[in-house]
Symmetry: C2
Subunit: 114 residues, 2 copies
Amino acid sequence: MTEDRLSRVFAALADPTRRDIVARLSVGDATLSQLATHYDMSIQAISKHLKVLGDAGLVSRGRDAQRRPCHLEADVLDLMTAWIDRYRRAAEERFQRLDTLLADLADDEEGAAS
Amino acid sequence: MTEDRLSRVFAALADPTRRDIVARLSVGDATLSQLATHYDMSIQAISKHLKVLGDAGLVSRGRDAQRRPCHLEADVLDLMTAWIDRYRRAAEERFQRLDTLLADLADDEEGAAS
DNA sequence: GTCTTATTCAACCAATCGGTTTAAGACGGA
DNA sequence: TCCGTCTTAAACCGATTGGTTGAATAAGAC
């Protein structure tokens, strides 16, 4: 399903290091060792983070000799915004209905008082 | 900082059960035991999920006798969309620049060929 | 007061996560 | 060919997660 995919994308972005990697890749492609220079952990740890991002479909890897440049697949982010917006909208509409309901009740009160 | 908060919100929504709870709460408030009827796990497990959603700021709990109705705090979702949009936009702009760059190169080629 | 419902707390468990270290491939350059 | 660089694989470790069960607490309802 798209269920697993959504879970993987959310989980991938739940880690600050991985979010930072995404932020860097949004500026431009980069290799593993280039990325690793910015973090206080081993290259292998960053490699694992890239694997998580890859499994989530958020980054793809190319080939350039022994390098594997990382590329941000920004389309996947739309998956999340679609999900989020759906329920944010629902909540807002419900809030709106409640709001008008309260307004109507207030009007009734005024009507009864006059 | 807001770093932890973002991590908690993303992590909270990385679980399908919790996403489903958010979906249900977007329709209307509900109590723990009402929510629990829809899932094939113990009430305590759902209570834990609600705690995670609460710690992320995604749901608040009220008081109604011995019940603690759950309410979706939809504003928190904006935190995520703000983050996502920021980098999706950056990636798109970069793509746009690359696109026009390639177009310019093509024009140069044509110019050189003519 | 006692019973029932709604919720939380605590201990436990297997599985996953985020990191480490060490070793092994894959590739280009001298 | 051998060397240095870039990357992945594997084993390990402590902490966290997602679930369980059992007991404790809180608040009506009878």
